[in-house]
Amino acid sequence: MTGNVRLQELAVNESGFVFDPHTGLTYTANETARYVIEQMKAGSAVENIVEGIKAEFEADGRDVYRHVLEFIHNLQEQGLSSLEAPVE
């Protein structure tokens, strides 16, 4: 998904510190948020991101799908992602 220009620009470090060179704003991303951003940068579809999270995190019984959609929506709203969530 190299088409997601805005997201590709974001600098995300290991401790979750996010820098947007475009605006100079900074953010804190938690571990799952970092995972989603990395996966989106790599072009993964929502379904795969959700499956990936369930495999890496103890998310039993949690509505991960809803959380990921909400997160992606939030990125767009903050102007950090130029694309809709890609769906398979």
């Binding site: 953010y27 991303a29 929506h73």
Partner: protein, 449 residues
Amino acid sequence: MSRKPYEKPMLVKHQLGMLNKFGSVPSVEPMVSIDGVAVAELLEKYGSPLFVFSEQSIVDKTEELNEAFKLRYPKTTVAWSYKTNYLDAICKVFHREGSWAEVVSEFEYDKAIHNGVPGSRIIFNGPLKPADALEKAFRNKSIVNLDNFDELQTAEEVAEKINEDVSIGIRVNLGTSATPPWGRFGFNLDNGQARDAVRRILAGGKLSLNGLHCHLGTFIQQPEAYQEQSAKLALFANWLREEHSITLDYIDIGGGIASCNTLHTQYLPGSQTTPPLSRFAEAVSSGLSELSCQPDDYPTLFLETGRALIDDAGYILTSVVANKRLPDGQRSVVIDAGVNILFTAFWYKHEIVPAQPVSGTPEQAIIHGPLCMNIDVIRPSLLFPPVEVGDKLVIKSVGAYNVTQWMQFITYRPAVVMISTSGEHALIRRAEELSTITDMEEVPGWLQD
């Protein structure tokens, strides 16, 4: 490979003042128990939402207030302001701790009698005291503070009718440099109206004046206001003595001392901006040093402190019912306690904390109540950790005015519980149910089938 703990994905924008240089957000301390009793246990037993009162907190605050004032003015008596919270169990704790009752209506007067308070330990204030209520209070030798000239006339008629010696006080209002004018109640002291009231009482010859009452306003954070108030009252007492040979039994400075809550208009938390009770005591005793009488003749100082004694003792335990994202991107957390039981949410930024350990990045949120009403906002904005449906929250410092001014609107008012000084807990008011409401109603014959 073991999986890592899951947290909802979250990206939080850094704002000035919110983060330290490492980019971390201040953490919220959960409150899992109150006075040693688990919040989860209370909710399990009594349902959600739930009001909880700490007896220990009432005992401690009352002791603090008494000590602060008696150290500086030994003839101090605290009278519990019924309107602030008149649940019987709450009043009984105050009375057991030595407080008299301060009431502002006939209903409250009757409730104080019902709670076993001797009539002579009830202070009867308020702008409406019907003749029957005055008669009851005069016969019981209660302390009655008159509000206006018409009431003065009614009081004279009642005194004549019962043919007893009747003493009364007058309520006065006055300006201080720190409080907005509250001229609605009592006789104005600054413009001479209070002196006219005294002359009128003396001319009537049916009542004797034995006290002054003045309530400055509410949520007062400036001790100086009390210094000016008590100095003005002391000078008025001097004038009464010199001009009319009247020696007062009491000076009642009302309530109004701020609790440690935070107003919406305040930036710093109330715990940092509200001075300790000792500063108020200092201010009052310094004002009263204007009294020119002999120490033996010093009047009793009555305090009608309300919110500062009970706010911190009260909690609402509540449950998260939904997480929402509003169209403008804002996060909303919906809880099962609304403004109908927490109307002080309109004044205060009530502190809200989870009742279980939380993890995850806090994010700005609006806390909404469950009412079908746009104004049902418990906190318009606070930094709050992620919570899930079913999680329990504790809303702090809700003890004043909520359980007297609450409204039964589209739902039932919840149960109220007290935790004793020894950690027992018991219902002090049952939760309402359908019959609580319908028992009051009548369906006229033509609508019955």
